[in-house]
Amino acid sequence: MLKLKVLILLALIFVSYSQAEEFYVKKQLLEKIATKYKVFAKKRFFFLQQTLDEVVDGSDLEKLEAVNEFFNNVRYSSDMKVYGKKDYWATPWEFLGKDRGDCEDYVISKYFALRYLGIKPKKLFFTYVRSTKFKQPHMVLTYFKTPRSEPLILDNNNRKIFPASKRKDLTPIYNFNGEVLQKGKKKKSHKKWDQLMLNMKRKKI
């Protein structure tokens, strides 16, 4: 009788644990990605999940490095080549599914992965910068430990994370965070962001 009670208790614990566990990409969506982008894409998402799982309990910096490292392995390609459009903000599923994208796509995927890992939105910003090296507009993800601290730069061109002061090759132009701007039940914040959110809601892959 005691054994049975223990078994039931264990079963209940297992069930509740399973329900609490939420994958970055849900199973149903993963199957669709697999169907569309074949088995390698599915594997990429598996590795992403593995990477995220490894740092889920780590510090913010560990999370930043893991995510930055993982996505910087994706090949750079212009929107025109991948999507036939001059400028397109891809969902994380499109980005990793196609395994290529431009600077905004890196920023988006890193942002949502870090959000999955529990980093608060007010610490993360999409930053429009000018790359003095390539002399062209660019976007990076910036991490502010506190609102007034020096941000860390997550860039796809420079694979390592540096404080902003170390990135002399980048001139900041404009910071924004759609989630922060949407505070107070606003339906709109930033046109590109709003479109991206709509695509994510529609599970665009």
Partner: protein, 640 residues
């Protein structure tokens, strides 16, 4: 409510609901697009201003100046710059709210200008968030203009739509209107055949059905009319002379012998031809018939000048000439002329005037005589004439011992007219078969004081003699319409109006004015009875009265009917609710004549009423002839 109205109301409500819904949706959409526009404007400002603010490197005074420049140049409600901890760094807001729209519109429509936000940074570091809210007064004015133009255009659309709807409904339901007219005509016993057959199948079937029905009923009426005409010729005409016969005289006499007869009396002449057997032997039947015919022409010719005179062949050798209002002297002169002319004629036929001669008995009748009295007195006069040398004898009326003289009556009646001393009394017309009251017939009494009252039969004869009958009727009609409360029961009442009153030039106008003011308040249903003699003449007044009474929902009845007309179309034109005839008239009609009359009356919904039914036996005889609605003393025998 008519079908047209029901459909029109339904479709109008439907149209208005649709238009209102479209109007509301249009307005909501306009409202939404105005709010979107407000947001887009605010967002554009927020983004461009936040980029500019970035160049200030966190210098609050510089940023405030930039915000002021933007705020003052555009239509904004509020621009706020908050730092990363949500503390306000700088704020501008428009305090004055001057919105040039009516207050009700402000209460009705709520426009909340959305707030657009943008991050502000200085280099890599964050400054805060810029919130921009556009001024909504412009949006209110814009929306108000939209609402006005929407209301105007939708009102125009609604009016045009309703007009088109009305025209369409009229076009679609026109056949139904025609059907309705035809149905109403059937109810009024009119025979309208609709020639324009509608295309809509349902209407077409109804019209064809009604046409068939109306055709059949009309055929019934025509057949009855034709039969009755033929019958009238057989029933009332003497074939040899073309004169009326005894039956005709008997049927007509009640009209002359009644208290309220137009004529107070006159001369009844019986002419008898003696020696006709010898004449037959001498001349043969054909020539004797010719002789009769020529003698008849003499009678006809002699009586022509007397209005309402009757010449009838009573039997093989006797003729009656009834001359209302003919003085004795004129009658004697006329008799002499007839005698001379007839004697000359007999001589022309080479007959012996010792053997073949005429005798003329004259009787000075009074309208108070009964038929039997008139005939027996006339016979007496003839018997006397036969023994006279001149073969002419006048029997004068017995001087009636009058309680009151003519002048005394005149005084009383005038007094009654001036002081309005008439009051109504009524008696019942009863359906003996169904044992129920059909209507009440109104009559009048003359009440001088508590103890002195005269019935209609008593005062009407002297009134006619004094020429006051029309004044009495004028008084009575006024009393009936102006003080209908005198008649207590709220049932159906009939009032008989004589032709001499109706044909007075001013009567129509008087009745018309009275009805205009009082008809709607009458507490009972009124039937006006008109004399058959007047209506069958198609007098110009009849059409006027018919239209007048129809207008006020007053039915028409016919009295003193003896089926004398050549054509009964007038019954269809007048459409009375009933025909009243003397019980003797109905009883003396043959079965064929009565069924022909029934065919006519049934096809146009007219009841037959026998009046003067005094005894149970008469009632039974009438019932056998299917005349079951009666008026007279016998109604008291029926319990209902």
């Amino acid at each position: 409510m008519t079908l047209f109205k029901q459909i029109a109301i339904m479709l109008s409500i439907f149209l208005i609901i649709i238009l209102s819904t479209v109007l509301t949706l249009n307005f909501q959409s306009a409202n939404q697009s105005v709010q979107d526009r407000l947001y887009e404007d605010a967002k554009n400002t927020a983004t461009s201003l936040s980029l500019s603010l970035g160049s200030a490197n966190g210098d609050i005074s510089m940023m405030s100046t930039m915000i002021n420049a933007n705020f003052d140049s555009g239509a904004y409600k509020r621009i706020t710059l908050v730092d990363v901890e949500d503390a306000i760094l700088y704020e501008r807001k428009n305090e004055t709210e001057v919105i040039d729209v009516p207050k009700w519109f402000l209460n009705l429509v709520s426009i909340k200008a959305p707030i657009a936000s943008a991050n502000v940074s200085a280099g890599w570091s964050q400054v805060g968030i810029l919130n921009v809210q556009s001024d909504n007064s412009y949006a209110y004015m814009h929306l108000y203009r939209i609402l006005k133009s929407l209301l105007l255009s939708f009102t125009i659309i609604a009016i045009i739509g309703l007009i088109i709807l009305n025209l369409l409904l009229h076009a679609v339901l026109r056949p139904l209107k025609e059907v309705q007219k035809q149905a109403a005509a059937v109810i009024r016993n009119e025979f309208i055949i609709q020639k324009k057959i509608p295309h809509t199948k349902e209407f077409k079937d109804v019209v064809l059905g009604m046409n068939a029905m109306v055709t059949k009923v009309k055929a019934m009426f025509d057949k009855g009319n034709e039969e009755l005409q033929q019958h009238r010729e057989l029933e009332y005409l003497d074939k040899t002379t073309g004169l009326k016969n005894r039956k005709y005289l008997i049927d007509r006499l009640p009209e002359y012998l009644k208290v309220d007869s137009v004529s107070k009396g006159g001369i009844s002449i019986i002419v008898a031809l003696s020696g006709m057997i010898e004449a037959n032997e001498k001349l043969g039947r054909r020539d004797v018939d010719k002789l009769f015919s020529e003698i008849a022409d003499i009678f006809r010719h002699s009586s022509r000048i007397y209005k309402n005179s009757i010449v009838a062949r009573m039997n093989g050798t006797e003729f009656t000439i009834l001359l209302p209002d003919c003085p004795n002297e004129d009658a004697i002169s006329l008799a002499n002329n007839i005698y001379t002319s007839a004697t000359d004629l007999i001589e022309e036929y080479e007959l012996n005037n010792e053997e073949t001669f005429i005798s003329i008995g004259l009787y000075e009748y009074s309208h108070m005589d009964s038929i039997a009295q008139l005939l027996s007195h006339s016979d007496n006069a003839l018997a006397q004439a036969k023994f006279n040398k001149t073969h002419i004898h006048l029997e004068k009326a017995e001087e009636a011992v009058e309680v009151m003289g003519k002048e005394a009556w005149k005084l009383i009646i005038n007094q009654a007219i001036n002081k309005n001393r008439f009051n109504f009394t009524s008696w019942a017309v009863v359906d003996a078969k169904n044992k129920k009251l059909v209507h009440n017939v109104l009559s009048i009494n003359l009440t001088l004081d508590k103890h002195t009252s005269y019935s209609y039969a008593k005062f009407m004869a002297p009134a006619i003699q004094s020429g006051l009958s029309c004044d009495i009727y004028k008084n009575v009609v006024h009393m009936l319409l102006k003080t209908p409360d005198m008649i207590l029961s709220a049932s159906t009442y009939s009032l008989r109006l004589p032709s001499e009153y109706l044909e007075m030039p001013e009567t129509y106008e008087e009745i018309s004015n009275l009805l205009r003011t009082s008809a709607s308040t009458l507490p009972f249903k009124l039937i006006i009875e008109l004399p058959d003699r007047m209506v069958r003449k198609d007098s110009k007044y009849i059409k006027l009265y018919k239209e007048l009474f129809e207008q006020y929902n007053i039915d028409i009845g016919i009295f003193e009917f003896i089926g004398e007309s050549d054509d009964y179309q007038y019954l269809q034109d007048l459409r009375p609710v009933y025909i009243k005839g003397e019980s003797t008239y109905f009883l003396t009609q043959s079965t064929q004549a009565l069924s022909a009359l029934r065919l006519i009356t049934d096809s146009i919904g007219i009841s037959l009423i026998a009046v003067g039914v005094m005894e149970k036996q008469t009632l039974e005889e009438l019932t056998q002839k299917h005349i079951t609605i009666i008026q007279g003393k016998a109604t008291e025998l029926i319990e209902f």
